[in-house]
Point group: D3
């Protein structure tokens, strides 16, 4: 039987949305307050979904402790309590929008999990705004 | 990369469930308290999902400010703080069940968004009852 | 030992805010969309707090089943799935604002509970707007 | 039009994770505190999704009162306020992990609903951990 | 300036409500399903409030890391993932109702904190049922 | 009748906790990750409570539109989407802890409201951590 296991994690980070490909006016009109020069922050909620057969011995899709360690090592250690643009190298050249952060988290976790195991990355910037990414190119 | 952007909006409205195709007794047995003659109300939560490639320049699937304006114009202005049966013309002939309100919101938004962009309408009548509609005929 | 027991209940109702003591223009400027003529609705959450000694035999401040029955009889039966202005007599002459509904619920429960037992009525009109009433005259 | 109706139910139960196919040490390392000998408990939230055409007469995918009765009869009566390992026969031989409880609830509901109507069982063990099962073998 | 700092913690436990001072029938009528012989469980949420002057050097009422350690040592280690009646000695003679668990947690924390610092223990048995205890005898 | 009206607002901001009165090591040990040099951010939720008699004409303690405007002018405009340490002058000399931000918001609102009207400022840094301030010196 194939099931989907979902687990939520949290991190707090700051970011600024400002594209080098746009003029200051265009940045301001596109990102509004998110373009403010010193950045601002969010309590991000990350929801990781892994899919797979329920192991007949353990009754589990994946050991939740292993998943916690993986998310800790690959995501939280470098992103929690950080200014994403300045402290996470990929976001010096890629804009840290919710969309791009979700894609980056997918890349980090997908390469450490068995092929096909990672099903979805859901990232909430606020309780009312979230992005889903399923690894679609 | 294709991602799914989700944004929640809220509106408060009242409605009454009473079908002209059924007898009073049948209406009462089908809708229970929802058939009470003067209507009642809910805090609806609308979640709109748009799907699409993450724009390489802006890092976004869609400008959230544009989506907000669209939902404001097409949905909130006519449904927020209204008695749906009496003030939203389509619901004088179509029952304003959660299912039908979700379908109506889909129709209004789908025709104003680029083809294929609207992925899902999720409508909560209460935190414990919600309907998803993906435009399936 | 004195403890405070809190229990939440829910009801859905519609209301309209329109004061006979004000002109139409004044009503509109005071209540905005809440003054729309056909009313609108909310999912109200009612939180009742009773205070008292923890009974040494039962370990409880009050039997939660008794409280549920009381709230059902005194509040939910007449307010749930109703248009408050039209179907709850007190609200034909008193405006059904969150403040006034909270006070009305206090009056109904206080007279059926042992003296001093009712501590607070908290009423949420939406998750972001609520009123507390402690019986202060 | 095909829509998906989702309704949440709640039950409180206790369980213990201990596999007869593993040594005590292996059980401890796999399940951690969930292996504690006397069990522990959770407030489970069950979300049932039924899919189907919106009935043109009633405006509904399914009568919510019928679904409530079904969940009450097939799930809540035997699982609510129970020690799953000891009081729900299937869980004396199958581990009551979130995955396995979700699959068991699917089996119980699927055979009582019209073919194809049941779309998803979502079971929350805590607000941050949940499993989805779509009936995939 | 005096402020009140509130922090939430979570634990999962099972309990059974059955008083030796009552007959079986009385127990059943008082506690209903909570009297089921094998117990059942909850995800408890504990909210601890400490009151005090905001330290002018640190800007804090209390170091949140110290509070976390205290709650971990005094409460979570003995109550999390436990059957309260069987594994927490005080609850072999005192009924583990929400009221009594809140009082017990107060006693444990109050004696380890500076006098007057502990302001309130709030304990949720479910999101809709919680008890407040302020140390009132 | 005296009631308490509560309204929630939200803002996103970043901050850094680093006291000039402490050494780097002491700062690190006191604030942990919150001392990271580039700051980090949160979705703050501000809950404002105003107390007063329910106006017999309007049925309200205060016009919610007026409160919204006041909070917008006095708090949100200068704090939302800002790096508090750098962009809100008071926080260049006062540490922007949750406690101090709550006190600052109290000061700003109290002087613009009728005497005694402001009852409490509640500020959530995360859903699990919040501070209450009642204006106590």
């Amino acid at each position: 039987m194939k099931a989907y296991l979902n687990r939520r994690y949290r991190f707090s980070a700051s970011h600024r949305l400002h594209s080098e490909q746009m003029s200051d006016a265009e940045n301001q009109s596109t990102y509004g307050k998110c373009n403010n020069p010193h950045g601002h922050g969010h309590n991000y909620t990350l929801e990781v979904t892994v899919a797979g057969d329920v192991d007949s011995k353990t009754g589990m899709v994946l050991d939740i402790k292993d998943l916690k360690q993986l998310v800790e090592d690959e995501v939280l250690q470098s992103m929690d309590h950080r200014f994403l643009n300045k402290e996470v190298p990929v976001f010096s050249s890629t804009l840290p929008t919710t969309e791009n952060i979700a894609v980056e988290i997918w890349k980090r976790l997908a390469q450490k999990l068995p092929n096909g195991k990672l099903h979805r990355i859901r990232l909430y910037e606020t309780p009312d705004l979230y992005v889903d990414y399923f690894g679609e190119a």
